[in-house]
């Protein structure tokens, strides 16, 4: 072994040896080192991509659920408003109907009462007129001292009764009108 000087710009036999050495290194790296590394890189990329996609999907799902919740809530709100409006409408209707019914019953009662009053008055007048005729005859018998046959003076009696009836019915009509 000797240390020798040679022209440093001229290649020699070393060229072949180091070329082979380099090609061996290249072969090992290309065949045994790079493929597993590239595989790991690709796998990691796929993993990350998958996770990102899953995250995107979860986000979309959450947004969808949120939108659905909102829609349901809006729907419920609208429904509630409708129900309240309906309730208020039917309450008004019931009130109006109740008022109308009350008024009708009231009117009916008043009418019935009026009719009863008229009938009672009629009966009273009938009784009174009958009684008046008898009293008048009795009084007249006592005054003139003899029996007066009612048939003979029927015209006079009827006349008196008619006068009384005219008087009372006029007053009764006036009283019925004033009570209303």
């Amino acid at each position: 072994m000797l240390i020798a000087a040679s022209n440093f710009l001229v290649p020699n036999g070393t060229f072949i040896v180091v070329l082979i050495a380099f090609i061996v290194v290249l072969g090992v790296i290309a065949k045994y080192v790079l493929p597993p590394l590239n595989k790991a890189l690709t796998e990691r990329q796929d993993q990350i991509r998958g996770e990102l996609e899953a995250a995107d999907k979860a986000k979309a799902d959450a947004q969808e659920a949120d939108a659905e919740r909102r829609a349901v809530l809006d729907h419920a709100r609208v429904q509630a408003r409708e129900i309240v409006a309906q309730a208020s409408t039917s309450a008004d209707q019931i009130k109006v109907k109740a008022e109308a019914d009350g008024q009708a019953i009231h009117d009916r009662i008043v009418q019935a009462a009026d009719a009863e009053v008229v009938i009672a008055r009629q009966a009273a007048v009938e009784q009174v007129t009958a009684r008046v005729g008898e009293i008048v005859l009795a009084a007249a018998e006592r005054v003139i001292g003899r029996e007066i046959r009612s048939a003979d003076h029927q015209d006079l009696i009827d006349e008196a009764i008619a006068a009384v009836r005219a008087e009372t019915s006029g007053a009764g009509a006036g009283a019925a009108g004033g009570r209303r």
Partner: protein, 262 residues
Amino acid sequence: MGIGTHLLSVPLLADISVGDHVQRQVFGLTIDMDTVWATIIAGVIVILVGLIMRAKVTSGVPGKFQLLWEMAVSAVQKQVDDSIGPRGAKVVPLALTLFIFIFTCNLFEVLGIGSHFEVLPAPTSDINLPLAMALYVIVLVHAAAIKNRGIGGYVKHYLNRPFPIWLFPVNLFMNVVDEIAKPLTLALRLFGNLLAGGLMLSLLAALVIWKIGPAPLGALLTVPLTVVWKLFDMAIGAIQAFIFALLTILYFDTAMAPDLAH
């Protein structure tokens, strides 16, 4: 002998020479044994580092070691994708190996002491290794060009650019010069940088003999300057490895590009 001897011996009184190697004759060929063993050791380191990474490789959370590899692979991959495109996938292992291997070789220079004989010289500071790698790359580049254009297209490519076809003698001359310059510059750029790095170490070591009167000024300066230079030299080693790999990718890009692009 050493070309530096005459220039430097007078001011520095030091015998600095280049091209000194431990040589042996094998089958009539001269072999620089120090370059050969340094190359083999660098190769073994690169292969070991690769195989250790391979043993631990995971698609889960990568370790720092794997991360370093992934960064290198991704950088090369991106460079190839950007310039050549998907067709350049076959260039990735070559460019990556070139970068890692050259960088490892260049780092050996940090071990240098600036002597005539380095135990572990940077093998890239011997012209043989840079030239071997450069010629290997250029042969593959031409093979890729022939595969891309066919033999006819490959020959025509030297005749019809950059000037119109009727100036084909000029075109041919320029292109041949270009093609010869490619491997030469590729090899000499790396070799020159690393050789100069080694020479710097020799010069800094020779500084030891510089005295002003009795004051050993050179001896005091040589250590800090050598440290600074070696840090700088490591950056040069990384840059040169990167440039070699990058130019390899660009040469393949030119060879694989469609004809219309040129």
